[in-house]
């Protein structure tokens, strides 16, 4: 780090950073965000398949970036290493990462869950369980107080992030708890969730215009939600025709009836001071509830709600861009908090209107 690190002159500190998995979708998003971040200087982006090629060849929005991919086997010393590789890679390389970097931010699932046994249940076990306690979950709206000074940060899952942001205010308000009835979470996601290396199902002819159940039951993000909200949810994920975006519709049945005023109070209370969260619920015009389009390309999250007549059910809508708030933006946000930089540094882009399927 070339700056002092203290909060005082945080705005002018500069940290070197590298991105492992730089040809990928979230790797590219990290590069985009870090390249525009006043406090980071990207010194390395790795790729095995595009070694030596310019970054702009993979990511046309980064054509002006003067950087070439290098091999993940030759990691340079940096202040912060971001890793955006498929599940299973980081858990095997985390020792290497800490040899070259002071802080590691991992976007995969490898350090998200608090217990090794959960990896046995939901994944294929864990190679480096000793790191799990050290890791902090990246989502600042959930875990801000534990991030400053953290040196291993685990980015949340995109669908889990959307769900947690939607339900947390109800948990905090006591409307929802471990003893609550069924919580159904019905998620709709864009094709970038599948990463850059999709198969036949993600080819344009097969993936266009779909409403396709891709994780009917048993999605791994359930584990994360349960771990961090203390709630078990009934979770189903559908692929729809957009590229960026994750939208979680949560159907909740409170034990006691709640009013719209109560809900406004809970959500405003939770998020009024959050720099990236907006409560959007009713109102006029075309955009009355949270939508992925409204936050596409940004680190914003939108949440909103509606009540069934009779107040029997609360429907909560939560929308994020899976590439930013759901992964790379969340990672940078967490790094900002960890390094005590201004929270919104590098994350100011507010989105576009109109915008198609961003």
């Amino acid at each position: 780090m070339s700056g002092t690190g203290s909060g005082a002159d945080a705005a002018t500190d500069t940290y070197t950073a590298s991105v492992v998995g730089g040809t990928g979708f979230t790797g590219g998003e990290l590069l985009r965000l870090l390249a525009g971040h006043p406090n980071f200087e990207v010194v390395q982006a790795t790729s095995r398949s595009a070694d030596n090629m310019t970054v702009g060849r993979s990511h046309p929005n980064l054509r002006d970036l003067d950087l070439r991919f290098s091999s993940p086997d030759d990691l340079e010393s940096v202040d912060v290493l971001f890793s955006a590789t498929p599940h299973g890679v980081s858990m095997g390389r985390v020792d290497d990462y800490f040899e070259v970097a002071d802080t590691v931010v991992d976007l995969s699932a490898d350090f998200r869950l608090p217990e090794a046994t959960m990896y046995d249940e939901w994944y294929d076990g864990h190679e480096s369980p000793e790191y799990l306690e050290r890791a902090e979950y990246a989502l600042p709206e959930l875990n801000r107080e534990n991030l400053p000074g953290a040196d291993l940060i685990a980015g949340g899952g995109c669908n889990a992030t959307a769900t947690i942001l939607g339900l947390k205010p109800l948990v905090d308000a006591g409307v929802l708890g471990p003893e609550s009835g069924e919580v159904v979470v019905d998620v709709k996601v864009g094709s970038s969730e599948g990463g850059a290396g999709g198969g036949a199902a993600s080819s344009h002819p097969e993936r266009s215009g779909v409403v396709r159940p891709y994780a009917p039951t048993g999605h791994r993000h359930e584990a994360e939600i349960e771990a961090y909200l203390g709630l078990s949810v009934s979770f189903t994920v559908h692929a729809v025709d957009m590229v960026r975006g994750a939208s979680a519709t949560c159907h909740v049945f409170p034990d006691e009836p709640v009013s719209k005023g109560d809900l406004w109070k809970s959500y405003r209370g939770a998020y009024a001071d959050e720099p990236f969260m907006r409560v959007v619920s009713g109102g006029g015009g075309v955009y009355r509830y949270p939508e992925p389009k409204s936050v596409a390309g940004t680190n914003h999250g939108e949440v909103g709600f509606e009540l069934d007549p009779g107040n029997r059910r609360v429907v909560v809508f939560s929308a994020i861009d899976n590439m930013t708030k759901g992964s790379a933006g969340q990672a940078v946000h967490a790094a900002n908090v960890a390094l005590e930089l201004p929270e919104t540094a590098g994350l100011e882009f507010g989105g576009l209107h109109p915008v198609g399927s961003p």
């Binding site: 719209k260 005023g261 406004w264 109070k265 405003r268 409560v279 959007v280 619920s281 009713g282 109102g283 006029g284 009355r288």
Partner: protein, 62 residues
């Protein structure tokens, strides 16, 4: 920048929060809440009081 007059304050009928409205609001006018986005009708002035405007039911085909 110049504005003719300062914004007026009113209570949001849904959240109870204090909200700012343009100085020249008139009774009967529809205006959206800066907090909730809800369309509100100006019921009286001095002080400005607001209530939820009746929503136009949109019937998106079925």
């Amino acid at each position: 920048m110049t504005t003719d007059t300062d914004p007026v304050l009113a209570e949001d009928p849904i959240t109870g929060e204090e909200i700012e409205l343009p100085a020249d609001v008139e009774v009967g006018e529809i205006i959206d809440s800066p907090v909730t986005g809800t369309e509100l009708e100006v019921i009286s002035l001095d002080p400005v009081t607001l209530e939820e405007a009746p929503e136009l039911e949109e019937d998106w085909g079925e």
